[in-house]
């Protein structure tokens, strides 16, 4: 009967029900979008690193992220290959360059030059053309989401990178950059030309170790024997990039603050409506107490109402969050709502509603059953 009473009281006060649900839905949507964007940003930030087959990265000293780094001095690839335990070492050239648009304006781009005979870091998710098209004259590969920024409609159109012609030969999908600067893939040698690098110079060296060698040992050896470089594991490079973009810039803190705001709004609205509803039904709770209900019995009625609000509010909120996610799937906004996040949000919503019930529970705990008699 606890459930029946809680459910009836819950749907009986329509206005209160609507306010509660709006509050929870708002809270869930805000949290889902903010945390979704946070995870999405993480995924975007580490996209290049995650799609490389690197075990170790040789980077210029203090390199903060894949997109934002200086050049190595040159020759690191061969220095690495000469060390024991190193199976392969591949140069990757990365730099921010200017793309000259058809209208004469400029768009900053991140040019990524890799060797395609080695699968260290290749353009992925191709929806038009192929990686091999990179070997055509002046070829670059761009992502669908950034074609408008480059002012090109598709394959075959061209612009200029640092004064040299560049032709779009293939299109990828969903390769976003956190900085919103478009990535352009090209061959290592063409990237060196665009960036005016020496023949043995690059931005990073991607290292794979031999099957019988330990990654940690190879890393320590490289760090000791190569000068003016940082040697990072894939994990460390990811963490550094995420930390740089999300925390050093404050972007991540803003997203987390948004999620916390959502949580606070949720707690306040649910606590307020649950308290108001409890007050409206105070005479009934006093009657229950007079009839001999234990304090626990009465608390259960309130908690069931709180849990009901949590479940319904969560379901509506998540449906909305997924709708927003779907509606923005082709924009530069990347939201990632994982099953883990969905579960965590459910637990947070549940906790929030139960926590919000405390005020109402304190209120009923203080009721004097003697109020059931009109004296």
């Amino acid at each position: 009967m606890v459930y029946t009473l809680a459910l009836r009281n819950f749907i009986h006060d329509r206005i209160s029900l609507i306010v509660t649900l709006v509050g929870i839905v708002f809270s869930v949507v805000l949290m889902a979008i903010q945390i979704g964007l946070y995870y999405g940003s993480q995924q975007v930030i580490t996209g290049m690193i995650d799609h490389s087959n690197a075990q170790l990265w040789i980077t210029p000293i203090g390199a903060q992220s894949f997109d934002d780094s200086a050049f190595l001095k040159g020759g690191e690839k061969y220095a690495a290959l000469s060390r024991p335990g190193v199976a392969s070492a591949t140069d990757v050239a990365v730099n921010i360059m200017a793309w000259k648009r058809a209208d004469g304006g400029q768009q900053a781009v991140v040019l990524v030059g890799t060797d395609s005979d080695d699968k260290s870091l290749m353009a992925w998710n191709l929806i038009e053309g192929s990686v091999a098209d990179m070997y055509k004259p002046n070829a670059v590969i761009a992502d669908k989401a950034y074609l408008a920024d480059l002012q090109v409609k598709g394959v075959g159109e061209s612009g200029e990178v640092n004064g040299r012609k560049a032709v779009i030969v293939a299109i990828t999908d969903h390769i976003r950059s956190f900085t919103t600067l478009p990535y352009l893939f090209t061959t290592l040698s063409r990237a060196r030309e665009f960036m005016q690098l020496g023949p043995n110079q690059s931005g990073f060296v991607i290292v794979r170790v031999k099957p019988d060698a330990s990654v940690a040992a190879v890393r320590a050896d490289l760090q000791k024997n190569l000068r003016d470089v940082d040697v990072l594991t894939n994990e460390e490079f990811r963490d550094r990039s995420v930390h740089h973009w999300l925390f050093a810039t404050g972007a991540g803190a803003a997203l987390i603050a948004g999620a916390v705001l959502g949580l606070i709004v949720g707690v306040v609205v649910v606590a307020q409506t649950l308290y108001a509803s409890t007050k409206d039904h105070l005479n009934e709770f006093a009657t229950l107490r007079a009839l001999g209900a234990s304090a626990g019995y009465i608390h259960r009625v309130i908690l069931v109402q709180a849990v009901l609000s949590a479940i319904i509010g969560y379901l509506i909120g998540m449906a909305e969050a997924f709708a927003v996610n779907w509606a923005t799937r082709d924009t530069q906004l990347v939201m990632l709502i994982t099953p883990g996040l969905a579960l965590a949000l459910f637990l947070i919503t549940l906790t929030m509603c139960i926590f919000s019930a405390i005020a109402a529970i304190v209120k009923v705990t203080r009721i004097d059953p003697a109020m059931v008699f009109s004296r």
């Binding site: 029946t4 009473l5 009986h12 001999g292 304090a295 003697a370 059931v372 008699f373």
Partner: protein
């Protein structure tokens, strides 16, 4: 009267309100309720009737004096122990019915059964039978707002009886009812008080009720001024 009393009150006093404006609502009441009897408590407004009923119902603690329910003193009991005593031994009938507006008649009775934690195989059936016994077999699925005052009070009686408490306490059960409905309610209370495992205690202003009682206690200004037994009509 040789059966042990269902309820025994000795030297009950009660202060109400906060100092300095305290009222001594009861000034030393000694009274016992016998099984199988319907006792009426009558007295002018403000004489302490509701206060005494609340103390009998373990809803209000006496300032001084002792209350025993089924031979057991309530002294020193916690709020939870008192609640347990209420659900095992006491049934209330209120002037304002105090039914749950979001529950049907049947569910109102089932709720009380659930609160009392009585293990019955079919609570709905048990609640139905209780309502049929008060003549509401045709109103099982009605919400309180769709019932007349007399019908509501009969639901309230069925609710007080569910789970077989030994003491039924009613505060002005007929005050909100017209003559016909009031009489029907009293006939019902009179009928249930014939059960020798139960005492019925009714607070009232209503002198139309007098003929239904086995015993009439009068209270004035917090003191019992008369206590007479009579043969019921």
């Amino acid at each position: 009267m040789n059966a042990p009393p269902m309820l025994e009150a000795r030297g009950i006093t009660r202060l109400l309100g906060e100092p300095p404006v305290q009222v001594q609502a009861l000034k030393g009441v000694t009274l016992s309720l016998q099984p199988g009897e319907l006792t009426l408590l009558m007295g002018p407004s403000g004489s302490g009737k509701t206060t005494l009923l609340s103390i009998f119902g373990c809803i209000l603690a006496p300032t001084e004096g002792e209350l025993k329910i089924a031979g057991k003193s309530t002294k020193g009991m916690t709020a939870e122990q008192l609640a347990e005593l209420r659900r095992s031994s006491i049934g209330f009938i209120f002037q304002a019915y105090n039914l749950f507006p979001t529950l049907t008649a049947e569910e109102n009775v089932m709720l009380a059964l659930d609160v009392r934690r009585k293990a019955v195989t079919n609570p709905r059936q048990t609640a139905r039978e209780a309502l049929i016994n008060v003549g509401l077999g045709h109103r099982l699925k009605s919400y309180p707002s769709k019932l007349s005052g007399g019908e509501r009070q009969r639901v309230s009686i069925a609710r007080s009886l569910i789970g077989d408490p030994s003491i039924i306490l009613a505060d002005e059960p007929t005050a909100a009812l017209d003559g016909v409905n009031g009489k029907a309610v009293m006939e019902l209370l009179s009928k249930i008080s014939l059960d020798t495992s139960r005492s019925v205690f009714v607070v009232t202003h209503d002198s139309r009720i007098l003929p239904f009682a086995d015993r009439i206690v009068r209270i004035e200004d917090g003191n019992i001024v008369s206590d007479v037994r009579q043969k019921r009509a």
